[in-house]
């Protein structure tokens, strides 16, 4: 069996393993430390409340009272840290420095205030009483054979005056110690669970996780974009230039080689090199079109329209450049939509329309084709939807049988704070 991962699991495990583990000690440390912290919390809270109330008439009190959530917030940070004693993975949350820097900008957390009141008013008293009982009684019993000689002993109404009594008491004390270990651990685990409930609400953890995921998705899209640019640059600087140089050399060779079979072969080689270049240009365009980088979405979409076999009307009113990932997403949406139109729609014309409203780019591609497009059939638009969702945007395809097909894209144009 693997080692227990928290106090509850340890309690359920084999007694020998539990007693030999660190859990009873960690629990003891947790309960023990709760007492001074609770006491300080009580004093500070009571003081702040008192001063606040008394100075309320001269407005200063408002400031003092408003500072209470900050104090309980700091306590929350400390307590989340202390939860590590009874749970291996401490509750998530801001660090002390982050919490201090955030100051009052963080909304008032009522659970944190509630926890502070609970700790200062109840928990530390319970802990102190429990410790007193659970430590003194077993320890006194264990030491009975010795203590008997020092003074008269009377433990919970049991007079210990013979040596036998002393040794019996010692044995009982050992059993009581074992019981105390369990009880302290139960107390610590229960209190830890309560603290976790109040200080680490599910919602907060989930929203933190969602924020993390969003950030990592945006990072992923950015990385994707950067990688595409890198590949485009590598192709441009490498194989493309070598091919251009090759066509130049072959062109010069054509002039030098005397007419005949040799020249025919050189000419053929030249044509093949040009075809290779043409294909490479097409590939590069699909990876990351240069015109998009240099001139933006309108120019790049015009290029797409010019290349399309179905006539395309472009109406793009975007006076400013947009963030690169948004431009790229929009470009590839149009590219994919036009490819689909050419392949399946049987359309006679396509309209591409893009505009910006309220910091959102809206783009539509509408054709007059047969409709009935199944988005799931092609991975292109599905992949683009993922990219857009990562950017906080969306992509919808309406394609009723009989048409028309409309691809509609929305994407915020302002980067997330």
């Amino acid at each position: 069996m693997s080692r227990a991962t928290d106090a509850w699991a340890a309690l359920r495990g084999h007694p020998a393993r539990f007693l030999a583990s660190a859990w009873p000690w960690r629990s003891l440390a947790y309960v023990l430390s709760s007492v001074p912290i609770g006491l300080v919390t009580l004093v500070v809270l009571a003081f702040a409340l008192l001063v606040g109330m008394l100075t309320l008439v001269i407005v200063v009190g408002v400031v003092v009272l408003a500072g209470i959530p900050l104090l309980t917030g700091l306590l929350g940070v400390l307590e989340r840290r202390r939860l590590g004693l009874v749970r291996p993975t401490p509750a998530s949350g801001a660090s002390l420095r982050e919490r201090l820097r955030a100051g009052r900008r963080v909304p008032v957390s009522w659970p944190e205030i509630g926890y502070a009141v609970l700790l200062g008013g109840v928990l530390w008293v319970v802990d102190a009483a429990a410790l007193l009982l659970l430590l003194t009684v077993p320890v006194t019993l264990v030491l009975a054979p010795v203590l008997r000689h020092v003074d008269e002993m009377d433990v919970l109404g049991w007079r210990i005056d013979t040596a036998l009594d002393g040794w019996l008491a010692c044995g009982a004390g050992l059993l009581a110690l074992v019981a105390a270990a369990y009880l302290v651990t139960v107390l610590a685990a229960a209190q830890g669970a309560l603290a976790r409930l109040l200080l680490d609400p599910q919602e907060a953890r989930l929203s933190a996780a969602v924020a993390d995921l969003r950030r990592s998705r945006i990072d992923l899209v950015d990385a994707f974009e950067t990688e595409r640019r890198r590949i485009e640059r590598d192709l441009h600087d490498g194989v493309q230039q070598r091919l251009v140089a090759l066509t130049m050399t072959l062109g010069r060779a054509e002039l030098e080689v005397p007419e005949g079979e040799g020249q025919t072969l050189v000419r053929e080689a030249h044509q093949q090199a040009e075809l290779a270049l043409e294909e490479l240009r097409g590939t590069v365009r699909n990876i990351h079109p240069r015109v998009l980088v240099d001139h933006g979405i309108a120019a790049a979409v015009h290029e797409l329209a010019d290349r399309s076999s179905v006539p395309v009307t472009v109406d793009i009113a975007l006076p400013d450049r947009l963030p690169a990932p948004v431009e790229a997403a929009a470009y590839f949406v149009v590219s994919e939509a036009l490819t689909n139109v050419t392949r399946h729609a049987g359309a006679r014309s396509v309209q591409v329309h893009a505009w910006r409203a309220d910091d959102t780019l809206r783009l539509t591609v509408v054709d007059d084709g047969v409709g009935g497009a199944d988005e799931r059939a092609g991975t292109g638009l599905a992949g683009l939807r993922i990219r857009l969702e990562a950017l906080g945007g969306r992509l919808d395809v309406h394609s009723p049988p009989g048409g028309p097909t409309e691809v509609r894209m929305e994407c915020p144009t302002r980067a997330e704070p």
């Binding site: 062109g251 010069r252 090199a273 240009r281 590069v284 001139h295 010019d306």
Partner: protein, 220 residues
């Protein structure tokens, strides 16, 4: 076709050494003088100021930014020394760049070609000569793209399909004879189409109507 070929003093800017050397070889073999062959836009501007060349041949994408530095440099040269002919070469062509080139201040000839065209050495050198003579030469691929674009409202809408084909070939810098060959029609027929184009675009007979027609076409 201007013949015999005028020897030009050329400043060349191309960041890839392999291509730069190839270009120098081609230009010098044709009898031109390459007064400077440089690898970035700043050096290009410096040498143009220094050497006062007849023509500039430049790549678009160059250090330091590997963006459209060559184009910016060309626009500056055009603004400061409008007499210098400018031939822009690029690994890819797009009409957005062309619009930028044409929108710079008026002046000498402008050429915008795919780098691959250099491999067709004779055609390339002819294009360069025409640009040096003040004409506009645009890569067939850009012209094809523009041809595909619909001009619903411009003066070009009045042209017939054939006339637009002829205009597209004119934009590539072709002569009537070459156009006739490409379309497999007589040169007389081409002359008739060209006349119709001038008439429909309402071009002043006094100006270089061929250039004006092409510009009208390219500006769409």
């Amino acid at each position: 076709m201007p013949d015999p070929r005028r020897a030009l003093r050329i400043v060349l800017a191309e960041d890839a050494a392999l291509l730069r050397e190839g270009l120098v070889g081609i230009l010098e073999k044709a009898g031109h003088e390459v007064v400077a062959a440089v690898g970035d836009a700043d050096a290009l501007l410096a040498h143009v100021t220094h050497a006062e060349p007849d023509a500039v041949v430049t790549d678009i994408r160059m250090p330091p930014g590997h963006g459209d530095e060559g184009l910016r440099a060309a626009a500056r040269i055009r603004a400061e020394r409008p007499g210098i002919a400018i031939m822009v070469l690029s690994a890819y062509v797009a009409d957005a760049y062309l619009a930028e080139l044409l929108d710079s201040a008026p002046g000498g000839g402008i050429g915008y070609l795919l780098k691959d065209r250099v491999g067709h050495v004779r055609e390339f050198l002819d294009s360069l000569d025409r640009v040096a003579a003040g004409e506009t030469v645009v890569d067939p691929q850009v012209v094809r793209q523009l041809l595909g674009r619909r001009h619903d409202d411009g003066p070009l809408a009045s042209l017939s399909a054939r006339e637009r084909e002829v205009l597209a070939l004119m934009a590539e810098g072709r002569t009537n004879g070459s156009i006739a060959e490409a379309l497999v029609v007589s040169e007389a027929a081409v002359r008739k189409h060209v006349g119709n184009i001038f008439a429909k675009l309402d071009l002043d007979p006094g100006s270089d109507r061929r250039v004006s027609a092409v510009l009208a076409y390219l500006r769409g």
